[in-house]
Structures are given as C-alpha cells and as structure tokens.
C-alpha cells in the first residue's frame, strides 16, 4: 500500500481542479439539462458531484487494483509507468463505464423529479454544483479541506438559498455536521432529499394496480450512523408498495460496503464488498443502495444493485 502516493494524487487533484479525479465540469451538471430546473432559489439542490464522480472514481480504483496485483516494483513506480506522470489521470478515468455514467445521471434526474412530484420548490446550481471536498476531510488534510469548504460555502451562500438539499450520505454529513466546524458563520440549513420526501409523503401518489416486489435494503454508514437517516428510506419504499427486507446487519448496525478504502487498498475494499454482497444476496430480493460509493463498490464485485431513487421514481412518478 502506498498511502503517500494515493493521498498526494487525490489532494493535488482537488486543489488543482476542484475534483478528486479529473473530469470536465460539464459532466457534473449535464444530467440536469433535460429538466429545465430554475437557477438558484430559496431552496437549492446541491449534489456535491459525488454521484457524477462515482463512475470515474471506480475507473481509477479498477486501475489501481490491476496494479496492486502485479508483482514487480512498488505501486508508485508502476503507477508512474502507466500514467507517465502522477497527476495525469485523464486516460484512466476516460475508461469509466458509460453504463454507470448513464445510471448515476438517471438517479439524479429521478431525485429531482421526485422532489417536484412531492411539491417541493427548488432550483439547481449548475456549474456552481461543486465537489464538497469530503475526501480531504476523510484523509485528515485539514487545511486543504478548510480552504475548499470555504469556497463551497461562499458559492452556496452567494446563490441566495437558505435551504440546501443534498442527495448522498457523504455530502449530507460533511455539509450538515462538518462545515459548521470548519467554516466560520456557516448557517445554511441542510436537508437530505429522503428526509424532504418523507416530510412531504402525502403529496406523493403510488401508482395503482402495479404489483410490488421484494427489496433488500443496504444502509449506508453515513446515513444510518452519522446522520440518523434510517426510517425515511424504509417508509418511502413501503409507501411505494415495495416489500422491504432487512439484511443480517441493518439500520444503525449496518455493515460498510468497504468503499472508503477503495483507493488506499482496493483488495481490502473488495473483500469487504464481497462479504456484504453475499449477505445481501442471501436475503433475496432486489438490492437497494442509497449511496454512489456503495453503488460502484458493490457493482465492482459483481453485485446487481440499484439506487433507491430509481425504485421510488418507478413507483411514485
């Protein structure tokens, strides 16, 4: 394991480009184009770019995994040889799975449509929909994180919004529970879309006459343990007419998908993901994820998984 190299790679990318892996900024907001969402407003949808980045991160992890398996030379040397120079990750992430990119964009459109169906008025940030900087925080790069968080906070404040709607567990946690500690005077209200849908559940209508199916729920650690979001997804899935099954480890005692160490140790990450996938498959039913990192990590080990937003939109829109 070459911690130094991986850290410098991610940190340098965030500092230089704003994202942990190089990606064209248009790819971050192009999902919203067909929806004609207004710009800004009292409430704004802030994706933090994590869903959009997940396929590119996955492509990088697959590359690191292939290097990890080779014997000759240290990882640094092997990485340098394959990339030319460390920062040039473009050709690695260019191999991102187009199917995965399409899928995460569809998740975001589903989330947006569900919010509209629930009567929520909100706008979008488009090119100001910045990455939250969560990887810098996780890795203990405090100063770099504080600088990045300040930029994100200023951009969100400039939008004029008082309510920020988040869509994934990591961005929700970092914005709601970490930003107030790192950014002086950060006072924006942060709510996750599942919480908002749950509050407005009476405005939603399940489709009539369609047979439900069984789903098994995989709670993300950062929803269940850090942000207390456990009941909302279950309530929404049941309301949508689906039969919700619990895996052996669920709710607050959920089992991590292994995603957070995917770059530092792809093989460790894989073994944890395989263990979790077996557990989920053992229950029977379609596997529901709610986090882009869980989604790509369980997929990397062969899991057939689908985001909660797709299940809900199919039944509620």
């Amino acid at each position: 394991m070459d911690v130094k190299l991986i850290l410098s790679l991610l940190a340098e990318n965030v500092e230089r480009t704003g994202y942990p892996v190089p990606v064209d900024v248009e790819r971050i907001y192009s999902w919203a184009k067909p929806l004609n969402l207004p710009r800004g407003g009292r409430a704004v949808l802030y994706t933090g770019a994590l869903y959009q980045l997940a396929p590119y991160i996955n492509s990088l992890v697959r590359h690191l995994e292939s290097l990890e398996g080779r014997r000759a030379g240290g990882l640094a040397l092997r990485l340098a040889k394959t990339l030319g120079k460390i920062i040039d990750l473009g050709k690695v992430v260019a191999k991102a799975d187009p199917g995965e990119i399409k899928a995460v964009e569809e998740v975001l459109r589903s989330i947006a449509r569900l919010l509209s169906a629930a009567g929520v008025e909100y706008g979008y940030l488009y090119e100001d929909d910045m990455y939250s900087g969560v990887i810098l925080y996780d890795m203990g790069l405090d100063e770099a994180f504080a600088r990045h968080a300040k930029m994100v906070a200023e951009t969100l404040e400039k939008s004029g919004a008082s309510l920020i709607i988040t869509v994934d567990p990591h961005t929700t946690h970092v914005l709601r529970s970490v930003f107030p500690e790192y950014v002086d005077g950060f006072g924006l209200e942060v709510k996750n879309y599942l919480e908002i849908l749950s509050e407005n559940i009476d405005s939603l209508k399940p489709r009539r006459g369609e047979a439900g199916y069984r789903v098994v729920i995989h709670d993300p650690c950062f929803y269940a343990r850090h942000e207390g979001i456990v009941e909302e997804p279950r309530q929404l899935l049941r309301f949508a007419g689906l039969e919700v099954e619990e895996p052996p480890r669920s709710g607050k005692m959920t089992y991590c998908c292994g995603g957070p160490v995917e770059a530092v140790s792809p093989s460790l990450s894989r073994r944890i993901a395989e263990t979790r996938l077996r557990e989920l498959q053992g229950v029977g039913g379609r596997i529901v994820t709610m986090c882009p990192i869980c989604y790509v990590n369980l997929r990397r080990v062969g899991g057939k998984v689908e985001d909660i937003a797709l299940h809900l939109s199919r039944r509620l829109l």
Partner: protein, 102 residues
C-alpha cells in the same frame, strides 16, 4: 469537527480499556494482517503517534485503512469516537510529516 490536537487525542485514546468489544463489528479486522486493522489497534496506535512514535508503514496501513464507518463507536463502552480519533491521527501525520506523507 476540526481535528483534535495531540493532548485531546491522548485524552480520548486514554479512555480505551482494551475490552475489544469494538473488534467484533469492524469490517477491516478480519481481512487485515494484524490487530492494527481493528479499532482497538487503531486507538492504541493513535496514542503512539500522539506521543511522537514512529509512523512505520504498518502504522500508516492501520490508520489509513479505517473506513470511518463508526460501527465500533456503537459498541465502545467508553464512548470513544473512533472515526474522529482516526481522522485526528491522519491530520497529525499530515502536519508532522508533511514532506513525507504528501
């Protein structure tokens, strides 16, 4: 929260009674090479680093393979926030070894 300094880190790590209840729920421990891949080992090693101990490759592996999933904190009778402790150790490593870590 903003990462803890050395003294807070030592104070938190000092609450550990080494009971090991945390180890049963840690996803990384069963697949790691040693106990450093579990919460109890990580708490011990954060204290080691806070006292100025050496950041060997295996210490780095221990600290950087934590998922910060927080399953362990629900089992800890002393109520140690282990993900916060691990992030503090990472932050300390960056601050102390800036030239060597990144």
């Amino acid at each position: 929260m903003a990462a803890w300094g050395r003294s807070r880190l030592l104070e938190e790590a000092g609450k550990c009674a080494y009971c090991g209840f945390c180890e049963a729920v840690c996803p990384t421990l069963p697949y790691g090479r040693h106990r450093g891949y579990g919460p109890r080992g990580r708490v011990l090693l954060t204290a080691h680093l806070a006292r100025g101990g050496k950041a060997s490759p295996e210490v780095l592996s221990s600290i950087y393979t934590c998922l910060t999933c927080a399953a362990c904190t629900l089992k800890c009778p002393a109520g140690i926030d282990i993900p916060a402790l691990v992030r503090a150790a990472r932050s300390l490593l960056v601050a102390v070894h800036e030239k060597t870590i990144i």
